[in-house]
Symmetry: C2
Subunit: 413 residues, 2 copies
């Protein structure tokens, strides 16, 4: 029998009514003939409440104890979920991370999964039970409880799907899938039927609050078909999977805009080996996360170097480059705190010409100036003025027909 | 180094302030040179809340899942307790029942302890840590979480004290110890310095809400010195221990009154082997808990048989005896629903004359009629009219000088 893993987040198990609704989802898949493994997160705001309880006692609680505390949230969810299924006449059994020997390293609050004892789960599934597993948690070799950090329950679900050889890992959420762009900005955005792992990773912001990039990366590594879908509607959502041939035809899958970006430029840096390294070491020391880096050689001796950071990192970034300025013989520093970055992403770009051109033309037609450009194999990003961010996204979306489903598109996109 | 086990109940860890206060207790014992193991219950009303959550989903939740759910309450307490100690500069580590391999049978919601892995605890104590252990819970051989039922945390504490060879098991509570009788009824009741396990078991109602009889029985079996003391005051409480020579001098240690008792009498039952068994089998089937049984032979052929039950069991008990009435050829049944039972308890009774006489005289002097009398080796109980229950207790307490400490008493008590 084929196995389906279903992951329900905190909002999907927040109260008795929602737990019952999620339980019905699991039952529906059982009725279809699947063996079902459910992964549940802690109910609603419970994790936040436990964190508050901890901080009241200790502003800097030991991480091991934090894991011991927070893991109870999921344990409560899974036992309640099993009770709900039992009340509906279905046999179910709940497990903590420790009980299925979800072994992790010992990095408390941010542990990495090392192995899972799939046998114990198979045994229960083969008895006809629905197996409910606490997300977000594991144990280390010494049986200390660990937690997986942000996106932990998504990662648990995808890892279980991999370990169990599941047909699909369903991520239930309050949206109906992944859209071509953020529907709050571009109203005509449409739901994608499919997206590749790589595209999803580049479009991380579209998955924000829906699926964590760490789980996507895990899915890519172990080739797990991930299905992001609505917990309230019956519709099919978006499948995240390996590139499939038909994806090649679709040049641009989605677009994003990142507002609240800032840019720092270093003008006339000595063009000698090691200077870029010095600059970024100084930024790393200051714990600044650097987004894009652009370097241009202005002469044999001098180069201009610029990078973008999120606006919240700007003060630390400025301080870090000021520190290193003399050392790299930088002539001047400029800062722009009013930029946004518009990106288009698509695996099809690799084998298509004219994508960059189409993007730049669309922006030009909308009279939007491009501050800088960066690209990866499957992404083109343009920095634009922040007050034009939404206009820019819209122009790009229309150019690449992101208001239509992939099948309906006409042009080279 | 000697080990002390300290048990804090739900009210003693109900909020951050109380957890801190309990943590200071543990620290005080560390400062005195002890290795300290803390056993904590779930915070305040948390268990009740979790039960309500469960019943909302399932009026008859599977017991395994109930244990999985309820055990989170203690897990939260112990991690928070460890965080509090850490904030005060003391190294601490919390464990669930599973983590110290508190192995139980598989009787969910009412499991019995089979073994404890003391080594893991010793190792942490030897590192200088305070070890905090979740009460009430264990795991079975298949790593299912189990709970110990009523009085579970007391039992955990006493069992740990036995397994660790602790010098003493301290039970912290909101009273300052065990009193000679219920101070709400007899204002002059005094705190006992010492009481034997057997006396404590007979005086169970005096320990109600303070220490569970199951833990006392465990303490007796493994010879654990139990110290019941106040969590808010520094005073020494009551030591529950094996009989010691000086106890022999004290004839009566304490007195109790059980109100809300009822009595059922079967008159003229055929005096043949097996009839009593039939009657009590019928009561057991009806899940009636029988208190005392009195049988008198009225002739070679006929006997009168009476027993007491709590008033809440009376309807079921009446039905059960009506069912069996013909079968045992009972002539008539009488019921009294207005009785109370006054008892005095003391290991010294074994070797003293005149105790029964003193009790009966005290009741007679107070013009209280005795309905029936039952005795055990260390207890004498008299059934009296319910509306005279408090008077009766008072008369008995004064007769045996239960308003004075054991050392101050003059008479044969």
């Amino acid at each position: 029998m084929a196995i389906i893993v279903q992951k329900f987040g905190g909002t999907s198990v927040a109260d008795a009514e929602k737990i019952r609704r999620a339980a019905k989802r699991a039952i529906k898949s059982v009725e279809k003939g699947f063996q079902v493994v459910v992964v549940a997160s802690a109910r609603g705001k419970q994790t936040d409440e436990l964190i508050a309880d901890a901080l009241e006692l200790n502003p800097n609680p030991p991480k091991r104890e934090m894991d011991q505390l927070l893991s109870t949230g999921e344990q409560q969810s899974v036992s309640l979920f099993a009770m709900a299924l039992d009340a509906m006449g279905y046999e179910a059994i709940s497990f903590t991370g420790g009980q299925i020997r979800m072994i992790t390293d010992s990095v408390h609050t941010n542990a990495k999964i090392k192995s899972i004892e799939a046998e114990r789960i198979h045994k229960q599934l083969d008895k006809g039970k629905i197996v409910i597993i606490a997300g977000f948690q594991g144990i280390d070799e010494q049986e200390n409880i660990t937690t997986l950090g942000r996106g932990g329950s998504d990662t648990t679900a995808v890892a279980l799907a991999a370990a169990l050889g599941a047909r699909e890992c369903e991520i239930y959420t309050d949206v109906d899938g992944i859209h071509t762009t953020d529907p709050r900005i571009f109203k005509n955005a449409v739901k994608m039927k499919e997206i590749s792992y790589d595209e999803m990773l580049e479009l991380a912001s579209l998955g924000a609050g829906v699926i964590h990039t760490r789980a996507v990366g895990f899915g890519k590594k172990y080739d797990v078909r991930i299905h992001v879908r609505s917990s309230s509607e019956e519709t099919v959502g978006t499948i995240i999977t390996h590139e499939v041939p038909q994806m090649e035809g679709v040049v641009v899958s989605g677009a994003t805009v990142q507002k609240d970006m800032a840019k720092i430029g270093l003008v006339g840096v000595d063009n000698i080996p090691g200077n870029a390294a010095k600059i970024f070491a100084s930024l790393a020391n200051a714990k600044v996360i650097v987004n894009d880096i652009i370097q241009t050689e202005v002469s044999a001796e001098k180069a201009n170097l610029a990078f973008t950071v999120s606006i919240s990192d700007l003060p630390a970034a400025k301080e870090a480059v000021e520190k290193i300025k003399q050392d790299v013989n930088c002539q001047s520093i400029f800062v722009r705190d009013d930029i946004a970055e518009v990106s288009v992403v698509g695996v099809g770009m690799r084998s298509h010409y004219g994508i960059a051109d189409k993007m730049f033309s669309a922006l030009a037609k909308a009279k939007i100036n491009i501050d800088s450009i960066t690209t990866s194999e499957i992404r083109i990003s343009c920095a634009v003025a922040k007050d034009q961010a939404e206009e820019a996204l819209e122009a790009v979306c229309f150019a690449f027909e992101l208001d239509k489903s992939a099948e309906e598109r006409t042009g080279g996109s």
